[in-house]
């Protein structure tokens, strides 16, 4: 078709480290790699523009997991996250995050990211979690991306905007060898050879279909559609606990955070239609989501965020934080609905499903050095398996990945790769541009995501999952008719293929774990009990030598912080006593 040349343009670039994803963890990986060794060449590949890409495109309203001396210890934090995840965590990675948390806050502070401080200049930390105190508001958190961008320039990181990575290159010796990208405005290819690759592509947040029916009305930035998960899978990396879905309590229809973490410390709370509290703790855990889901379906639904009882100055302060950071358009949304926090509770709902370790625990397996199971390949942020790591975790683990990759580069050379792999990938990418008619990316994406809602959303029923797999396979067959007319649509067509890969992985991972765990996230109706004897382990999903989706168990490493039996149940008793007694 006219928008594409019949001759493909391909440029080949060599670098030491390639970072894919310029949102939160990716820039930090690039910055910390350059700080570790300024002589290294570091390329940052971004599908959008690093100035405003990723989950924190408009900044952030607070840290949800700050481990600050005087308020919390790394040991306490590791315990809290272990308990909130029903014990299935790689504690060494959580500990690496927890010990890196405070130095990272100080580093961010030094580069111009603003955090709330009290009159004496101390961080103003607040309590939201069940056990410890970890929430640090950021009333002026809208400058995060600008601060990062200044550092990228200062450290001379080479940025390629508007290139979408489509597949990783694997060396002939099994090491990662770089990646293939396509320009989303011209359709030109860029092959980047690298000694080490850091994946930081965000959540798989465009998996389920929002209840509004608007494809891009997602909680996550819709650019975060699971490209990283798909690339890691096709490169042979293991993906951990994907069945532990991300499902969030959100403002109904707007699909943004309500946001109990911000309002909770000010006295706001989640309430049912009688205005009563029904959960003790607003921290997003699977058990909390199960209570939320139950309340929605009961005669007590819908569920609301209640702030009507708060004083005027408190509400004004909440409005300032929520309407100028992270998702500033929420003020406009409330205005059109006539929702004033002073007079009306905010209607909430649960989100569609996705993968995300930032809020849950579904990610590409990484150890405490951010290494995946493929030599030279790292992952960080929402797409890596460190649970509940939020924005600060993306920074800390991105930094860990960058520094470890810098060390790794010193002792390795550029792997050789097979040019036929590039040719095969280019043929796959360009196939929809070679057809004059067929199916559009829009309708195929809509259908795939609607099937995810119909069949994969918890409660998980085996019979529904099997139908879902069969219907999704039909959509996959239809890829042979996928047709695009310009490079923008080509990007959407490639994203659709990431979404399909993630949907298949979600179904397969959920069927593999034959027990229930993590509250609503993995509620298997046919296997309702938690089965610690057989399933107190991680699950790893991977592509086997035959190209098939395969699974294995991975034992939970010995804890570095011991947990008492009675502490383990802390997140199981979230219902308020008065309601529980009814």
């Amino acid at each position: 078709m006219s928008a594409f040349d019949s001759e493909m343009k391909t440029e080949i670039v060599e670098t030491d480290i390639l970072v894919i994803g310029g949102g939160t963890g990716g820039p930090m990986a690039a910055i910390k790699a350059k700080e570790k060794n300024p002589a290294l060449k570091v390329v940052l590949m971004e599908k959008a523009n690093v100035k405003r890409s990723g989950a924190v495109s408009m900044g952030m309203d607070g840290l949800n997991n700050a481990v600050i001396p005087g308020y919390a210890t790394p040991e306490q934090y590791v315990k809290e996250i272990t308990v909130a995840n029903d014990g299935i965590v790689h504690q060494k990675a959580v500990m690496a995050y927890a010990t890196g948390s405070y130095p990272m806050i100080q580093y961010l502070d030094s580069i111009g990211v603003k955090f709330e401080k009290d009159g004496s200049g101390e961080y103003n930390v607040r309590k939201v979690h069940h056990m410890g105190t970890y929430v640090l508001p950021m009333p002026e958190g809208h400058h995060v991306k600008k601060a990062l961008y200044r550092q990228l320039r200062k450290h001379q990181v080479l940025v390629t905007n508007r290139y979408m990575a489509t597949r990783l290159l694997t060396g002939t010796d099994g090491r990662v060898a770089g990646a293939i990208g396509v320009n989303t405005r011209t359709g030109e290819f860029l092959v980047i050879r690298a000694k080490a690759v850091v994946l930081a592509c965000g959540a798989a947040g465009r998996l389920g279909l929002p209840a509004s029916g608007y494809l891009f009305g997602t909680y996550e930035n819709p650019a975060n559609c699971g490209d990283g998960y798909a690339m890691a899978y096709h490169a042979g990396a293991g993906l951990a606990n994907l069945e532990c879905y991300q499902i969030n309590p959100l403002i109904k229809d707007y699909n943004g955070p309500a946001c109990a973490y911000v309002t909770g410390p000010f006295g706001g709370y989640t309430a049912n239609n009688k205005g009563e509290r029904f959960i003790e703790c607003d921290y997003w855990s699977g058990q909390m989501m199960k209570e939320f889901y139950g309340e929605l379906l009961s005669g007590n639904g819908p569920v609301f965020l209640n702030m009507t009882h708060l004083a005027e100055e408190t509400i004004s302060e909440i409005e300032t934080i929520l309407h100028s950071n992270e998702r500033p358009s929420r003020g406009r949304f409330h205005e059109k609905r006539g929702t004033n926090y002073r007079e009306k509770m905010v209607e909430m709902h649960i989100s569609e499903i996705g993968f995300c370790s930032g809020h849950s625990a579904s990610g590409v397996w990484v150890d405490e050095n951010a290494r995946t199971t493929v030599p030279g390949l790292y992952a960080a942020g929402d797409m890596a398996s460190v649970p509940h790591n939020y924005m600060l975790g993306a920074f800390v683990n991105g930094g860990i990945a960058g520094e470890d990759a810098a060390d790794y580069c010193a002792s390795t050379d550029l792997p050789a790769y097979d040019a036929a792999d590039v040719a095969r990938e280019q043929a796959r990418v360009m196939a929809p541009t070679r057809r004059d008619d067929g199916l559009t990316p829009f309708e195929m994406e809509y259908k795939a995501r609607r099937l995810v809602n119909d069949y994969l959303q918890p409660p998980k029923v085996t019979a529904k999952y099997k139908i879902g797999q069969a219907r999704l396979a039909e959509v996959r067959d239809d890829l042979s008719a996928l047709c695009v007319k310009d490079p923008h649509e080509l990007m959407r067509a490639l994203e659709l293929q990431s979404i399909l890969d993630c949907a298949d992985m979600a179904a397969a991972a959920s069927l593999y774990r034959t027990e229930s765990r993590w509250g609503l996230y993995h509620w298997r109706v046919d296997h309702p009990a938690t089965d610690n004897e057989n399933w107190f382990c991680h699950t790893l999903l991977y592509k086997d030598e035959m190209g098939r989706m395969a699974h294995k168990k991975r034992a939970v490493d010995p804890y570095v912080v011991e947990i008492d039996e009675d502490e383990m149940g802390a997140y199981h008793q979230l219902r308020t006593p008065a309601i529980a007694a009814e």
Binding site: K51, R52, Y214, G217, S329, D437, G438, T440
Partner: protein, 77 residues
């Protein structure tokens, strides 16, 4: 299989009188995470070409002349 033309309202609007695209400004087009803004060949000004909006607002906040306005997409409103 022929295609249909599907028309929708767009959440992002640009005030042509304030837009300075003719001076080479591409700020809103550059910062959009979903790459849905482009130059309208008919007017030479920025416009929303694809209805794929996260109502995230960098286009509006970063516009040097205040020409861009983000509304909540109708399906969510």
């Amino acid at each position: 299989m022929p295609f249909a033309n599907h028309t929708t309202s767009v959440p992002v609007t640009v005030d042509d009188d304030k837009c300075i695209a003719e001076k080479g400004c591409r700020v809103c087009i550059d910062v959009c995470p979903l790459d849905v803004l482009a130059i309208n060949p008919a007017s030479g000004k920025a416009h929303m070409k694809y209805d794929e909006c996260w109502y995230c607002m960098p286009c509006e906040v970063d516009c040097p002349t205040g020409a861009v306005k983000v509304e909540i997409p109708y399906l969510l409103r």
